[in-house]
Amino acid sequence: MKRRTLVTTGVAGAAGLVAAEQLAEQYDLVPPDGSGIYGPGTTLTYAAHRLLTRNALAREFPRSEISRPPHQNGKPPKEEAYVKHVEAGFADWRVQVDGMVARPTTLSVADLRRYPSRSQITHLACEEGWSYIAEWTGAPLSEVLNLVGARTGAKFVVFHTIQNGWWGSIDIDEARHPQTLLAYGMNGGELPPGHGGPLRLRVPRQLGYRSLKYVNRITVTDRAPEGRSEYSWYAGI
């Protein structure tokens, strides 16, 4: 290879990287964990998915594909607060919706049931490698965001759970995606405690760890949430 070719390629490559970085910032293609030693990989994955998948719908399945029995991963929380909710039939379960919203609201599961509901039979894949198919019923998160008046400029939605300190977040596009549900039903019945009852997030375009169980607070924000987990923040793989 000629020296001139080498220098030209190097300069063009560096300029291309700078331009790519600016474009990525401008179009929100950099995930919250886009820096650090694995930053290049997570950023490439997230940016590629955001450009390729856009509004694509996760695959839905016929009823005959539903996994029997539905695989339960782990046991419900043992915290006293949760046990009391189970005993009370979740009548007092509340979800606080706050942050960049015009009307901060607190919703009960009964409130959510009055929203237009959506049922979908989708695949839930764990990062460990196993998976199952089930039908989930719930309120599309986009409906909730519209009701509380999520402000323009909001970039992330953060979900808190009753499991001590367990939380996670998705970007606003995934939050407004029609298949992203606040699920209260599963396989025709109520969402059982072992599956996150009374309320779990369902994000069928991402791995299972993004479908948080036992959701009790939802915060709309424009700040990149701190990485809690050592797993990549974007879980569409």
Partner: protein
Amino acid sequence: MAEPRHRVLVRVTHWLTALSFLALLVTGVEILISHPRFYWGEAGNASGPYLFKLPIPASRGLETGYSFVLPDQNGWSRNLHFQAAWLVAFTALVYGISGLRRGHFRRNLLPARSDLSWRAMSASWKAHLRFEPSSGEGYNVLQRLAYAGVVFGLFPLMIWTGLAMAPGFTAAFPLTVTAFGGQQSARTIHFFATLALVLFVVVHVAMVWVTGFRAGLRGMTIGQSKESL
């Protein structure tokens, strides 16, 4: 100056691929041991039937028959796995474009039609089994088939089955996973293709050893020509 044994682009992409493959293999094993069971079709889990399982302990709470659980290193393993996948994908892109433009595939990797006859193939097999040195210029037919199989078969299959396990990707391109019969089928094929690639690496390194390790290594690093060896 004599023509180098391998062009500089082939040498650089060879070692980038080797590095990526090592990272993908180590982290892939780490990811696998969190659930060393395999399924066929769309879904599969510990509550249902499985295709087969590996007789090893797991790094998570899967019932394996062992009394202990292996250390769980899935965090960095997953991150490094996908970062190395990007590196090998870009490397493959550069290698693929260059190989097409320079005629590398046609000249060095694809076997000649006359070499694919039963007679020529069995002659090549016999020569290999007798450890006879390869005669003539360039790669012999079995080498060509092995290299072409890896470059055009196994590597694309690894990337494809990997993508077929990504729920975001398959939302946009559902055919990439339904073509295999489901996400769990893709995972199982990903595993067997890994075994095939490991087998290739073992035979590849053994062959380099048998035919002169130092000379082979010099050819693939500093690019010494065959004549000057």
